[in-house]
């Protein structure tokens, strides 16, 4: 189903948590909602789910206005940041909860639970108490529980937030796999750029209660809407030029060792196959460049620069 949020406004004590935020998620699409903490991501999610009263705007599901529809009748699933598993029910009781609410026959619930536990890799753990599960297992139960009633739209609020790195990376892959397989409409909230790029068919960047830009990860990376988005995404070489900024993508800077070169290498940091070089040119401005391989310049080397014009964009400053 297609999910639309139009000009949503929510105010808390005189300050606007949402100041006219709009979203459009196509049926079967995964949209990652990316923004720094406190920008209103969670409020937007709660407003769509019906947990947060709107002061303006409307939420549409396949063109139908959801205003006046209580949360339990919206057909929207939400996976909570802290999972919110029911401590008094075992794993199967948690996963089957939504089906039970829908009046599904017991035998069918049992069958679905087994199937879902298989999907999230928790085969045979239905009888376990949720309080004895590890963080990663709890996260999977929460996912299975949100998926169980087959909500046409699934919202996820930083579901990987509290996990340690290796587990985080593994579950990230698995989530992407599940979304692709189920063809569900997904809105995925995160403050982590890598997570958003990994999962989102498109990414909506949010700032101070508004959506600043919605685009595919590639479009975002090659043409951020403004200097703030560029910096938030972690783009290097964002230089203010009056009302606008100039962005030089690091991989568009060719670097060659040359005693007569115009720049000096200050730092070289290896991360896997690539090395990020910090350079200072004769004008004293610092640039980052990315080179691959093992025979790369070291700190102190003089280098000549060749900048590919296609890797340079000018966008509004945005501050």
């Amino acid at each position: 189903m297609r999910l639309r949020a139009e000009e949503l406004v929510v105010g808390f004590d005189g300050t606007a948590a949402l100041a006219g935020a709009s979203l459009d998620v196509a049926a079967g699409e995964t949209l990652a909602l990316l923004g720094p903490s406190g920008c209103g991501k969670s409020t937007l999610l709660r407003a769509i789910a019906g947990l947060q009263r709107l002061d303006g705007g409307r939420v549409l599901l396949d063109g139908r206005d959801l205003g006046g529809t209580p949360p339990h009748r919206r057909g929207i699933g939400l996976m909570f940041q802290e999972h919110a598993l029911f401590p008094h029910r075992d794993v199967a009781g948690n996963v089957g909860f939504g089906l039970r609410m829908a009046g599904t026959p017991r035998a069918e619930i049992a069958r679905s639970v087994v199937e879902l536990l298989g999907l999230v890799g928790l085969d045979g753990m239905g009888k376990r108490s949720v309080e004895t599960l590890s963080g990663g297992e709890q996260q999977r139960v929460a996912l299975a529980r949100a998926l169980a009633p087959g909500p046409p739209v699934l919202l996820l609020d930083e579901p990987l937030g509290s996990l340690d790195r290796p587990l985080h990376d593994r579950l990230l892959d698995e989530l992407g796999e599940v979304f692709r397989r189920l063809q569900q409409t997904v809105l995925y909230v995160t403050h982590d750029v890598a997570e958003a790029f990994a999962l989102g068919d498109r990414v909506a960047v949010m700032r101070a209660g508004r959506i600043v830009q919605t685009a595919t990860p590639n479009e975002l990376w090659s043409r951020p809407a403004n200097g703030w988005v560029a910096r938030f995404l972690g783009l290097a070489n964002v230089e203010p030029l009056g009302e606008s900024v100039r962005i030089t993508r690091p991989e568009a800077i060719g670097v060659e060792r040359s005693p007569a070169g115009e720049a000096t290498v200050i730092r070289a940091e290896r991360s896997g196959a690539v090395v990020t070089l910090t350079l200072r040119d004769s004008a004293g401005r610092e640039l980052e460049a990315v080179v691959a391989g093992v025979n790369v310049p070291a700190p102190g080397d003089r280098v000549a620069l060749r900048i590919d014009p296609a890797g340079v964009v000018f966008v509004p400053a945005g501050d």
């Binding site: 939400l78 919110a84 029911f86 939504g98």
Partner: protein
């Protein structure tokens, strides 16, 4: 369209609050107001000297202070053991230490009469020891629980920075424990200040606190004016202590976390094993000795060990008018009714007040808890003696009084349970298709039910042992077990003392069983 932040809507909340508030207004505020009114009216005309009142108030204060110091001395080593170490039987220790606290005061008093040598059994030291015995649970559970949540990192940091064991204790551990020490001390002081059964038995005829003097004046000398004036003093003092105690207790909230506790506790090693062992051993002796002496006395007959004293259960005597077995039946019946009432009042109040921040409110709820059962009983006598509410002689006053004493415990167990039901659980259930009514049934009710079960057990144990209020309102031909024990203790002779001990053993078993079942059922939620 928001999902409710609290388990009930506004209207339902008002309805839920109305019942306990009406009950408290009639059976708590009205009797107290009657006392205050009578006290103020008579304060000029009382024949009781002001100097005498001051002397009693002073004694009440310093015996409570000394009792608190003694309780800390006995309880802190045990708090250290359960707050720092994991060992087999730790949860059993935590459960057992609660037994003295839920033991009826008359049982504790009888046990100390049995354990102390003849010349000491009616003296101030006897009172102090009994108070320490009674309140050790407060120190162990409040301080030990808090200690377990502190973590070892700061102590480790101090060690690395070169602090020896004593400096570490003085400059790192004790300052961090201060809130828990203060709260435990304040509660112990409050309980010792208003203690009745222990003082009236172990104090003998000459030693009096405010609480026992109110009883003597009202019930023995029928000087209601003086009793009312003394009650005014007691009310003021208790209100002040309650405010301080609840403030100190409020500061503890948030300091405890069972999650970190599991990681902090470790097995004792090396010399620690000796220390832990000897603390556990000596505590077991200290706490077990009075109970062992009580059992011994109940079994010792002129011809050796025997069950003679237990035969008194079925015998009608002039002391009691009925058989002690009937007194036990009365106790069970009254305690059952009182438990129902206390659950309704304390539970509904918790439900209604759950969305408010804990704090000054808990002081209000602590008031009847520390607020002197004797005053409650006395208030019943003078308030319900005349229209508009002439209930004198009604047997129902007994469970009502016991419920008032037990309800604060119910509140203190149930309110945190209700508060701990996180909003997200309700929201998650709603988004999975649960209607608001369904969410309440599927989420709130089961999560609070366990706490309610625990609260019921504690309320039952407290109602069984309630003495200060019951002694005023129990009819002569319908005594409860504590009243029966008191009557036997008041008569001279080994025969009567033995009978009292036997009845105390029976009462202790009933109360301890109820409390232990409650501790299990309540998922470790207890009023301390």
């Amino acid at each position: 369209m928001d999902v409710d932040r609290a388990p009930l809507g506004r209207l339902q909340l008002a309805a839920a609050a109305a019942i306990p508030i009406a009950f408290l207004a009639i059976f708590f505020v009205y009797p107290l107001a009657t006392i205050v009114g009578r006290g103020l009216a008579e304060s000029g005309s009382s024949t009781f000297a002001t100097g005498e009142t001051l002397r009693i108030a002073w004694f009440t204060t310093w015996q409570a202070a000394l009792s608190t110091a003694l309780t800390l001395a006995v309880g802190l080593p045990l708090a250290w053991v359960v707050g720092r170490f994991a060992f087999r039987g730790r949860s059993l220790v935590l459960a057992l230490v609660l037994v003295p606290f839920v033991l009826p005061t008359l049982v504790v008093a009888t046990a100390f009469v049995a354990v102390l040598p003849g010349r000491l059994d009616r003296s101030v030291p006897a009172i102090l020891l009994a108070h320490a015995f009674f309140n050790v649970a407060v120190v162990v559970r409040v301080v030990g629980g808090y200690w377990a949540g502190l973590g070892r990192t700061t102590e480790a940091a101090a060690t690395v920075l070169g602090a020896g064991p004593w400096r570490r204790l003085r400059e790192v551990t004790l300052p961090q424990l201060a809130p828990a020490l203060a709260a435990a001390s304040a509660l112990t002081f409050l309980f010792s200040f208003t203690s009745f059964g222990v003082v009236v038995v172990l104090g003998g005829p000459r030693i009096a606190t405010l609480e026992t003097e109110i009883y003597s004046q009202a019930a023995r000398l029928f000087d209601l004016r003086t009793a009312a004036v003394l009650s005014l003093v007691q009310l003021g003092a208790v209100a002040a202590i309650v405010v301080v105690a609840s403030r100190l207790e409020g500061r503890l909230l948030g300091g405890r976390s069972s999650e970190t506790a599991r990681r902090v506790l470790r097995r004792p090693r090396g010399r620690e094993r000796w220390l832990v062992g000897s603390v556990l051993g000596s505590s077991a002796v200290l706490l077990g000795l009075p109970l062992a002496a009580l059992i011994r006395r109940s079994l010792s007959t002129p011809t050796g060990i025997g069950l003679d004293h237990y035969r008194v259960l079925r015998r009608e005597t002039s002391i009691l008018l009925v058989t002690p077995l009937e007194a036990a039946a009365n106790s069970l019946l009254f305690a059952t009714l009182a438990t129902g009432l206390a659950l309704a009042v304390g539970g509904l109040l918790a439900l209604a007040l759950a969305r408010l921040r804990p704090g000054w409110l808990d002081a209000l709820v602590l008031l009847p808890l520390g607020g002197s059962a004797v005053m409650l009983g006395f208030g019943f006598v003078i308030a319900f003696d005349e229209p508009p509410l002439e209930l004198r002689g009604s047997a129902l006053l007994v469970p009502v009084a016991q419920a008032l004493v037990a309800a604060p415990f119910v509140f203190r167990i149930v309110a945190p349970a209700i508060r701990s039901v996180r909003v997200e659980l309700r929201e998650a259930a709603a988004l999975l298709g649960g209607s608001p009514l369904r969410v309440r049934r599927e989420i709130d009710l089961p999560l609070v039910a366990r706490a309610l079960g625990g609260a019921a057990g504690f309320a039952f144990a407290i109602a069984l042992g309630e003495f200060g209020a019951t002694i005023f309102v129990a009819q002569a031909d319908r005594p409860t077990l504590p009243v029966a024990i008191f009557r036997f203790l008041g008569r001279p002779g080994a025969e009567n003392q033995g009978s009292a001990a036997a009845l105390a053993v029976v009462l202790a078993l009933l109360a301890a069983a109820a409390a232990l079942v409650a501790e299990r059922a309540g998922g470790r939620r207890s009023p301390l």
